[in-house]
């Protein structure tokens, strides 16, 4: 794990991907400053957000939540090709000839990527949170929950992209799999509405079942907004998505242990 973690960190720094995250964060800061200025002149009335207190805390966290979602999306794109690249002909020989089981190698790589990119996402979110607090004068609550959910969301995405990347050896197919997962979860959110148009109970139950099995990263992101705006959140999307991620990882290890390079 130590070696793979160092390697993942060195790889991230070499790719200079950190500059893209920095650029996105700077854009986020500019949006915060611009939004703050616009709010101060809202309807010709001068508003002092600093005196509004908790009234703006919720919307601020919703904004930061959307920002974190963009960062996770960016991380999915940035990491999709890492495992296929690690297992290209000539490089796979190097890693597979080391005294580590294939299962450990795959899980170490997945956790290393997760850790490195989670730190990057966390750092960017913290910067935005601090800047927003400093500009507006209100520090949004439930930051720990926001960070935890987005970091777990990244782990769920990684379980998909690494499995597909390992099986196909393709960066592009790995990203496509993530996109298909995203589209399907958008559709499955409306499983009850879709089910009401279907007479066949088996098909209706299958769609409903697929909804509970399929990862729900969009709903995980929505959990933060529910928590800060409504005071509570339904945790089922997180639990079921983590079970899906665990199943995908077990499948990935099973296939990886049997794959010839």
């Amino acid at each position: 794990m130590r070696g793979i973690l160092h390697d993942s960190l060195a790889e991230m720094l070499d790719r200079k991907i950190i500059w893209i995250y920095a650029a996105v964060t700077v854009i986020g800061i500019l949006i915060v400053i611009a939004a703050n200025s616009a709010a101060l002149n809202f309807n010709g009335q001068e508003l002092d957000l600093k005196t509004m207190g908790e009234e703006v805390a919720g919307p601020i966290m919703v904004g930061i939540n959307r920002f974190a979602y963009v960062l996770v999306f960016l991380s999915v794109l940035a990491t999709a090709g890492i495992f296929p690249k690690m297992m290209v002909k000539g490089r796979a020989d190097y890693f597979l000839s080391k005294p580590i089981s294939r299962g450990s190698l795959l899980i170490s790589k997945m956790l290393s990527i997760w850790l490195v990119y989670s730190l990057l996402v966390t750092a960017c979110v913290l910067v935005i949170w601090v800047v927003t607090g400093a500009v507006v004068g209100v520090f949004g609550a439930k930051l720990w929950m926001l960070l935890m959910l987005h970091v777990l969301s990244l782990l769920i995405w990684l379980s998909i992209t690494i499995t597909i990347g390992m099986v196909t050896g393709s960066n592009a197919l790995s990203i496509m799999a993530a996109f298909v997962t995203w589209v399907l979860q958008q559709i499955l959110v409306f499983h009850e509405e879709i089910g009401s148009f279907i007479d066949n109970s088996i098909l209706r139950n299958a769609i409903s079942g697929l909804y509970y099995i399929w990862p729900k990263t969009i709903q995980i992101s929505d959990m933060v907004e529910s928590a800060v705006m409504k005071g509570g959140a339904e945790w089922m999307p997180l639990y079921s998505s983590l079970i899906f991620a665990a199943a995908m990882t077990v499948l990935a290890v099973f296939i990886f242990r049997r794959k010839d390079y």
């Binding site: 060195a10 790889e11 720094l13 790719r15 290209v88 020989d93 000839s97 450990s104 010839d260």
Partner: protein, 311 residues
Amino acid sequence: MTIVDVQDLTKVYSTGMRKGDIVALDSVSLSISEGEIFGLLGPNGAGKTTMLKVLLGITSITSGTATIDGFPPGNPRSRVKVGYLPENHRFPDHLTGLGLMELTGRLHGMSQKQMDERSDELLKLVGMERWASVKIRKFSKGMLQRIGLAQAMMPDPDVLFLDEPTDGVDPVGRTEIREVMKRIRSEGKSIVLNSHLLSEVESVADRVAILSRGRLIKVATVTELTSRASQYEVEADFGNKIIKLPEEVGKVVSMASRLMIVELTDPERINDVIDDIRMNKIKIKSVKPVTVTLEQSFMEAVSSHPEGAAQ
């Protein structure tokens, strides 16, 4: 003591229903001892690289058994004291030379102190100490081979698998790599050497295995392969004298005023030949077995087994 043992090893690659299967290794059995440089020879597609990949657990076994230091390839413990320089390697190019050494050390569970000491020693040994902080992607082919050899030696391996180690290396570098191999052998460690350069194998290997189309066609020492046990070269002042040998001793293959080549029915019969020459009052200067190059021997072995047949 045997460090690598292979028994009836078969590897079949499935290429899909239409194309059929490819038999990369067909019932190969061999063993490699401690302190031995073992050459793997064979034409392209003979199964040499597959043999290394199977032993290292990179490719699975279809049937048969293989062990390194008593552990099967699927067991990570079989690779603890193993170094490997793959053919056409692509080391992580975001690393520096030193970074690669450290990654290798970490993957072998070495401490930072061990890694520092070993990296310094090995980078000096392969002449790469000046390039330690340069990214691998900037290395030439020869430099990549040198750093590849250094990383393979990082865990102080008991057995080193080298697949075309001198590929792209200049003649000076080749000589240095050969010296490194001899040094490793002198430390009681084994090397499995896969090379197309037969002269290189001939100069360092103790034993070689010749593979053809996945089959093992010969395992012998380099001396056995390069000598004609039944043929002797006798250097003497024959002048115009003609030597004739009894049929039960052998026959004269060629005869000149200072050199005679004889083919004997039994190598022991060389004493009869010497006696015969001495009886003719001819002064003998030297008697030695006729030798051929490993390349000649290899070509004979491969051409005499076009389909590959175990011997």
